[in-house]
């Protein structure tokens, strides 16, 4: 061992240089806590605001995760345009890197000169799932199938019951262990097979039966669900995320290793009631806590890096894994120097992860036939209850897909989750009887169009206005029609992604029955305060008109 120490001493400058080079690109960026906090408060609009700048503008090693985070938040918020933009960027980056020769997935890749972290394999599979879910929600089953198919890469299996410590020891003893010590095995991602099967079936692509069989092979308990899906006995499909997925922490000497720790542990069936009658009790199809704890779903990048930076000898001696252990004196100099270097550089293992991953994912096919009210809750967690009034179904060949994000017990349960009357008219509900635009004192936030103007006029308002006049009112207020439509140079774009009901400058209707739709349309807010004289006057005229009507009715 003394000789090895001497050897280490000789090569130390080289090792140090390599270590420094490795450290440059490996420090974990600080977590975007405002985004995470907002997301788990159901404030998806704020979460997206916190993420948008980084996701859109930066091409750094975080680009994939930031776009994934943004895309998932936008999907929950019912903004399919931004979700598609961000998730497709993620898809392009993930698929650009491709797969290894044995169809397992790589951990890191270089794109346009930037070393990009791809996330753990389970996070990559979830990424593809969310892209598939997005296209399913949009009714684009071809792209849903294409995305889902990518989630079915093979996994690296180092053997049963392997702990991270076992793997570290294996890696320290054999330099080729992490490259060759595994068997590439078929995935056990039943959710991925189900999504691909559903999408294949509905897009008339081949393979649906085989994919259903593969899901059943992984989990025989899926039989009744698969039967219902195979027979297309549903017109509506719920994709429901519940709870907070596991967090990633660094541990061991110099925090050089990582593991995932469960945050939410409540496991319950998803209960779905239709018009007050129980319609489904669904078990989770995907348990993200279990995936994260399974070494086959982890890329072991922390061990590779620790090996590179600290060296096999130090790992084998227990410097990384054990907090106590006999160390060869001859190694102390080089080892401590390197370990010190790690500490000084804040170079603990990379703890970035997909914070928006849920604990559980449910798939619930329903046959609704007609419009109805849905009530969803996770058994044993009343705070998770969501009520969706007046849900319209699709049909057997083109089922409607609704994606919902339900948080666990440590998130608030705002009143809008269970509200059953929309407060605002919108593009989905249409202009309601007696209503007029919110910016003029009414309760309608529909996008101005000839149709909406005619509806206002049928209600007795804006009788002297043309569509151009109506549009001019919104222009005068600096309101952008559509989500994220601000394009003037020098103007901030973020506020145009936020709805005017929440103080932004965007007028749009999120996807019906999305969490964003529910939050916006079922949350009371202060009356609109016009900024322009034009709108103030128009609002005043309506008030005068109403007062006149009131007086007449009084007489």
């Amino acid at each position: 061992m003394a000789r090895r120490a001497v050897k280490h001493g000789i090569i130390l400058p080289g090792v140090l240089a390599s270590a420094l080079l490795l450290l440059v690109g490996c420090q974990s960026a600080p977590r975007n806590m405002p985004a995470v906090r907002s997301y788990y408060r159901y404030d998806f609009a704020s979460a997206r605001e916190s993420l948008r700048g980084d996701a859109y503008r930066r091409n750094d090693e975080q680009v994939l995760l930031n776009n994934l985070r943004l895309g998932i938040a936008a999907l929950a918020d019912g903004d399919t345009t931004e979700a598609e933009r961000a998730l497709l960027r993620s898809f392009d980056l993930l698929s650009t890197a491709g797969l290894n020769a044995d169809r397992t997935t790589a951990a890191v890749f270089v794109h346009e000169g930037v070393k990009i972290w791809k996330g753990e394999p389970f996070e990559q599979a979830l990424a593809y799932h969310y892209i598939a879910a997005l296209y399913a929600v949009m009714g684009d089953w071809e792209n849903a199938r294409a995305a889902a198919a990518n989630a079915l890469f093979r996994l690296t299996d180092f053997g049963a019951d392997q702990t991270p410590e076992d793997l570290v020891r294996g890696a320290a003893k054999d330099p080729e262990y992490l490259k060759k010590g595994y068997t590439a095995v078929d995935t056990n991602f039943a959710l991925g097979f189900l999504m691909q099967a559903i999408a294949s079936d509905l897009s008339d692509a081949a393979g649906a039966e085989r994919q259903y069989d593969a899901a059943l092979e992984i989990n025989g308990a899926l039989g009744p669900l698969v039967d219902q899906l195979r027979s297309r006995d549903y017109d509506t499909l719920l994709i429901v995320d519940y709870g907070k997925g596991p967090t990633k922490i660094a541990y061991g000497r110099d925090n050089a290793l990582v593991r995932f720790i469960e945050q939410d542990t409540h496991r319950g069936q998803l209960l779905v009631a239709v018009d007050g009658e129980e319609a489904a009790r669904a078990d989770a199809i995907c348990d993200v806590n279990r995936m994260a704890a399974d070494h086959r779903w982890n890329n072991l990048e922390d061990i590779r890096r620790a090996k590179s930076v600290i060296g096999d000898a130090l790992i084998l001696g227990g410097a990384v894994v054990a907090t106590h252990g006999d160390r060869d004196n001859a190694l102390v100099g080089a080892g401590m120097l390197l370990a010190g270097l790690l500490s000084k550089s804040g170079a603990k293992a990379d703890t970035r992860y997909l914070e928006f991953a849920p604990q559980s994912i449910y798939l619930v096919p329903l046959r609704l036939t007609d419009r109805c009210d849905l009530r969803l809750s996770v058994q044993g967690d009343e705070g998770s209850t969501i009520i969706l009034p007046d849900v319209y179904p699709g049909d057997a060949g083109r089922p409607r897909v609704v994606y919902l994000r339900m948080h666990g017990a440590d998130s608030p349960d705002p009143a809008w989750l269970t509200a059953d009357e929309p407060l605002f008219g919108n593009d989905h509900t249409g202009v309601r009887a007696g209503d007029w635009p919110w910016i003029l004192g009414g309760l309608d936030v529909s996008t101005p169009s000839r149709k909406t103007l005619e509806a206002y006029q049928a209600n007795g308002y804006l009788l002297d206005m043309t569509l151009n006049d109506l549009l001019e009112l919104y222009r005068a207020e600096g309101i952008n029609l559509g989500s994220g439509m601000e394009s003037r140079p020098g103007e901030r774009r973020n506020p145009s992604f936020r709805h005017i009901l929440e103080g932004g400058s965007g007028l749009f209707t999120p996807l019906a029955d999305s969490m964003g739709y529910k939050r916006l349309m079922y949350t009371p807010c202060e009356p609109y305060r016009p900024k322009s004289e034009l709108v103030r006057n128009a609002a005043r005229r309506i008030r005068v008109q109403q007062e006149g009507t009131d007086q007449e009715e009084h007489r």
Partner: protein, 151 residues
């Protein structure tokens, strides 16, 4: 590719014997069907169709064989936006006599040095009167993606 497509078209007996004086065939190019594992956004599919239509419309094939290439008019706004054009092409709202379908299939190859997707695009021309396939052919389209992976 449109050159090869024109050649293939012309070599078909039924198409080859057509002249510029024949009653026109109104061929509507149907949307691309994506059987690959790559996501292709709906506007991208129509952009592909729009470009294909524009190139075929300008080719000798259109004039010499009396063929008018159109796309479903309800999709024209997407194509117009993607191509940045405003004027509707001639014949857009004519009733089609034929339908050209296109299907993308992938022969995906992956390796540690990135991913390369070889696509095959299958075309079929259907006579809408008889329902018969009167021409079909396929071409390979390459799309390579850079990106060096580290396991």
């Amino acid at each position: 590719m449109t050159d090869r497509m024109a050649q293939s078209f012309a070599s078909d007996e039924r198409i080859g014997r057509r002249t510029g004086d024949d009653a026109p065939w109104i061929i509507s190019i149907h949307r691309i069907v994506n059987h690959t594992n790559q996501v292709i956004r709906e506007p991208e599919k129509w952009l592909y169709v729009g470009r294909l239509r524009a190139m075929l419309a300008q080719s000798d094939l259109a004039r010499e064989r009396s063929i008018i290439w159109i796309i479903p008019p309800e999709r024209w706004p997407i194509v117009a936006e993607e191509l940045g054009v405003s004027e509707e092409p001639y014949g857009l709202r004519m009733d089609p006599t034929h339908l050209l379908t296109a299907e993308f299939h992938a022969l995906t190859q992956t390796s540690g040095r990135g991913r390369s997707d070889a696509y095959v695009c299958d075309y079929q021309l259907l006579d809408l009167d008889s329902g018969a396939i009167i021409w079909e052919d396929a071409w390979e389209v390459k799309r390579s993606a850079s990106g060096l992976t580290y396991d």
